[in-house]
Symmetry: C2
Subunit: 394 residues, 2 copies
Amino acid sequence: MRILVLGGDGYLGWPTALHLSAAGHDVGVADNFARRGYDAELGATSLIPIAPLRRRVAAWREVTGRRIEVFEGDLTDPSFATTMVRAFAPKAIVHFAEQRSAPYSMIDQAHAVYTQTNNVIGTLNLLYAVAETDPDVHLVKLGSMGEYGTPNIDIEEGWLEVSHNGRTDRVLYPKRPGSFYHLSKVHDSHNIEFACRAWGLRATDLNQGIVYGQETGETARHPALATRFDYDAVFGTVLNRLVVQAACDHPLTVYGTGRQVRGMLDIRDTVECIRLAVEHPADRGEFRVFNQFTEEFSVIGLAEMIKALYHRPVEIAMVDNPRVEAAEHYYHAAHSSLLDLGLEPHLLSGTLLESLFAITERHCGNVDPSLFEPTVRWTPEPDPVGPRAPAALG
Amino acid sequence: MRILVLGGDGYLGWPTALHLSAAGHDVGVADNFARRGYDAELGATSLIPIAPLRRRVAAWREVTGRRIEVFEGDLTDPSFATTMVRAFAPKAIVHFAEQRSAPYSMIDQAHAVYTQTNNVIGTLNLLYAVAETDPDVHLVKLGSMGEYGTPNIDIEEGWLEVSHNGRTDRVLYPKRPGSFYHLSKVHDSHNIEFACRAWGLRATDLNQGIVYGQETGETARHPALATRFDYDAVFGTVLNRLVVQAACDHPLTVYGTGRQVRGMLDIRDTVECIRLAVEHPADRGEFRVFNQFTEEFSVIGLAEMIKALYHRPVEIAMVDNPRVEAAEHYYHAAHSSLLDLGLEPHLLSGTLLESLFAITERHCGNVDPSLFEPTVRWTPEPDPVGPRAPAALG
């Protein structure tokens, strides 16, 4: 199948492109390299060195003989979106091409506006590109479990059967997310559902949990195929960051009570979930939602697991929560659809953590400990007097 | 009370500014004149001639002695938003400053992107302006009943009590709107709810029905105080358009079956609802939603009412529905909150229709009948070959 992976140079987009190529699909990747630009802006880098996209693609060809076509451009440019879809003629589009950090979106007004514009308008342009080029294309869109927030009822997969005043309906699951980033994905989901309903497009919205891990079967085949591994407080996902803190002798920073519960999954399951979604497309007109995670953990539970497992002493530092989120909450979320399609989860294990420790220890010399600090606070300071200075990051 | 009315040069923003000024409030209005620009783009004009904003404000001063301060600028410019809020120091902001036509948002990709960018980013900038200047300001935001779509359960005022698997929660009412315009307002509502929850702002989201009518007690006081009256298929609200068609000897164009049911209200109730919302502010941290309409009508019911009442023969033309919307559907929506605050509705009456006929008949010479045609179709035509020509409007 011809598959376009948008955001194919990123943490998950790149391993997904390789996984789909290894499965025999004809893969194209698109990227505007915004993610590498955020590194420059934040003074951060991937802990594991990553090759430029052209080198990555060449290495994949050397290792496997398989070609990956590259499109460089930005989805907020509508002519790029339409020209690319027309030129590549995909049967499926996997859409990772969004700013994906909640703290980044909360830095200040400009970052909130950038995140919502980039994500919502990029996706809107993509919907038009599909509708005007080939409405049969299956859009596989990366959403987030964070879109749901922490409701006091069970979280279902995108839709909810509601009875009210003696009548019933199947409604979109009501969402109350906790950042302008997560809100951008809620906006996307509403726009995509409309395009399925009004235009007969087909889409799968993958509400993904927090991903951990660094290697997949494909990225391990050559150093130039490695994907990025972030540990900073803005882009580092929680388990990856805690592992780096342990392995590099830094206290594990746990926000608030640490009793926030979140759905999580192994990077090897991310790429497999996407293969399963692509190979089992939604119907025309269907807006299908899968919750893409395999286990639920509390943040303090993860920190304690690492502390128990690591071979050196580990300190846990409880820090003020820079986010606005519930300290204690009910959390139970459905996630059976991808299991029904055949997903065999890699549950979090000591073996995986040991391998992450080993990978990390080799690169501790590259760690900048100041990047662990959660400097982005969720609430702006009122300043009735003068123009606000640009928010500082560090 | 010091009140800023954003979009204060528009169909409803202007009469609202006058109504609040007449009630003794200190009013400022802001506008970027985008609405007058759409006229130029679409080759349309208000059936009733309207004065420039500066002339309007001067006429109000002549008639009442009351001043209205004017801010010219665009909310998508964050420094305009912040500077204005800091300079005027309002206690309440009434936010009409959005592109408000569903067909306009569906013209093509560019108009969809414009609508969502203008509305969502403008409102996001406004949230930051309030949070950074004075988080105590009460934001009164114009939403739309169209945000809800046509669910098979009763529509409540913004929130819904849900029981699911033995647990309960109060959730945001799930929405499935029918255009990129209505979607932009759903996105706004989610962003505003987050700002109330995370930042402790106070907001009232007014999900307004379809407004009809042209005069209020204030606009009738001088010809230069008249508000616009649109009859074209893009910006003309349904009852106003049908009245103009009847009074100017054109068949009443009813889309589809005409059995779409919508909540509606008189323009005099719009301005009064906003006064009531402003004078009874939401609490800090509260995201309050009112459904702002007074009666439900089907489109065919309105057409038949006009036909029965008008003194000359009236033809009703059933035309293909250019929109994607349910032809037959359940519709029952709560709207008690504004009544509880003291609203005394002007229910649709023969007297109101007679007065609209009389106003309209005086201006039939200015009508361009081609503007009645619903040329904007909801579904783009797939064109796999070449770059798409700009969508034509006429």
